[in-house]
Amino acid sequence: MNAVEVHDLHVRYDSVEALQGVDFTLPRGTALGIVGPNGSGKSTLLKAVAGLVQPAEGSVRVQGRAPRDLPPGTIGYVPQVEDVDWQFPVSVRDVVTMGRYPRIGPFRRFSAHDHSAVARAIDALDLGAVADRHISELSGGQQQRAFVARAIAQEPLLLLLDEPTTGVDAATEESLLKLVRGLVADGLPVLMTTHDLDRAPEWFDRLIVVDRKILADGTPGDVLESGAYAGIREHTHTHGHRR
């Protein structure tokens, strides 16, 4: 069974059709990159897989089920821009600890495993030195790593990353790359959007080019050589208006 199966997916925001019939599958232990111009529906595709937006037509299946019917904790999602109140009274460790909340019911106490999952996530993203700081006292890269650490602490069966490398420092990018490749080697399926075509072969086993539909799907090398992405850049330029 594939970790993700998306079939003929259409998503509409009011009258705008953000996705117009997307098909792809993601097996376990695969990092799948999603590239496309701004407004191509990349983020919408991740949100549909996360169950945050509903398909107008078609279907999304994660572990064979609709995203909203999954057991809590199945999907780890890191949005492109964290829309949180940075004055909210939580430390880095508190944020990472939240990753365990979906996994433990209302009445269960934190187990040794829960504590160690949090500690490992903090270590994996090199946040030990800032773990007890308030979230407003972090750099942009540290903030991004804190939210990735929360997703990892959740021990998800599917990881969704929306442009995690945009606007972060080089050290953060390298540690995220190492982390993702390690998780994929352990069998985790990862779905990630990016703007960085040059490094796609390092990050991904497979790459899809999206512009409301899937324009190309293959290994990063093949997709980049095919010129599919260059083609839509031209297209976007000619037609201008994008959402």
Binding site: L52, G73, D83, D85, P89, P102, I104, H134
Partner: protein, 274 residues
């Protein structure tokens, strides 16, 4: 005779102090969520909405708490429903529904020939008039709120901080939001007797706002808010007895003083850190 302990020696004052502790604790604990989610307006709105239920209960001779609870909970759920379905902002949804419910209460009473003198006490509170039965009701409802919040505190915290990611992770954020509104409605009903419709919003906001000036961690903020809330209600009640002043107003004034003290201390600490 008398002296500083005099207020504690009378039955009606003892009952008032018990209710003051419960109301101070509940409002401040719930107020932590209210302040962090920027829902201050909702406290005011739900308190006013209770007036419709109080009016109906009064006119039909029904139980005050039951009337207030039904009106407040129905309004709370209505606010959530209108916000989600009509795609209007939460504060607009609150503004529409609470004024409507409050007007319904005024409308019903204005058509009634019965005297409305005791209703003054619902607007401004009558903590000195609580009966032993009221104490039992307040304690029972207070315990129910504490149990629900205790059971839901992790998803409540996650949903308050980051609702989008919480939902993606499988937390039923819509259900959590409704649960919070219902628990808030019950908290307000419990508090009406003590501080009245007009001032209950202050108890939901001011102690938690004061606590937010002094700590950047969630649990300490909630505990500090509860401490401030109980000092305000118990201290305000005591002071109102000594000063022969309105208990509800004295409670809220004390809470306001604590807020400004916390603001000053927080400001000094921030300056000394930089």
């Amino acid at each position: 005779m008398g002296g500083v302990l005099e207020p504690f020696q009378q039955d009606f004052m003892q009952r008032a102090f018990v209710v003051a502790v419960i109301v101070g604790t509940l409002c401040s604990a719930m107020g932590t969520y209210v302040v962090l989610r920027k829902l201050s307006f909702i406290g005011d709105g739900l308190a006013h909405a209770s007036f419709a239920g109080i009016a109906i209960a009064y006119l039909r001779g029904a139980n005050f708490y039951a009337g207030a609870a039904v009106a407040t909970i129905v309004t709370a759920l209505g606010i959530g429903f209108v916000h989600r379905r009509a795609r209007v902002s939460l504060d607009t949804s609150i503004g529409v529904l609470f004024t409507g419910a409050f007007a319904l209460g005024v409308f019903l009473l204005s058509r009634s020939p019965r005297a409305t003198v005791d209703l003054q006490s619902f607007l401004f509170g009558s903590i000195l008039g609580v009966s032993p039965g009221d104490v039992a009701t307040v304690a029972g409802l207070g315990l129910a709120v504490a149990l629900v919040v205790g059971a839901l505190w992790r998803p409540l915290l996650y949903t308050s901080f980051d609702p989008v990611v919480a939902q993606a992770a499988g937390i039923r954020t819509g259900l959590i939001d409704y649960a919070l509104l219902v628990v808030l409605a019950v908290t307000i009903v419990v508090s009406l007797q003590a501080v009245g419709i007009v001032l209950v919003a202050a108890l939901l906001v001011t102690p938690a706002a004061a606590a937010s000036q002094l700590t950047k961690r969630f649990i300490p903020m909630m505990l500090l808010a509860i401490a401030f809330g109980v000092v305000s209600t118990v201290g305000g009640l005591y002071a109102s007895y000594e000063l022969h002043a309105s208990s509800g107003a004295t409670i809220v004034l004390l809470a306001t003083l604590i807020f400004f003290a916390a603001l000053a201390i927080g400001g000094v600490r921030r300056r000394s850190l930089t």
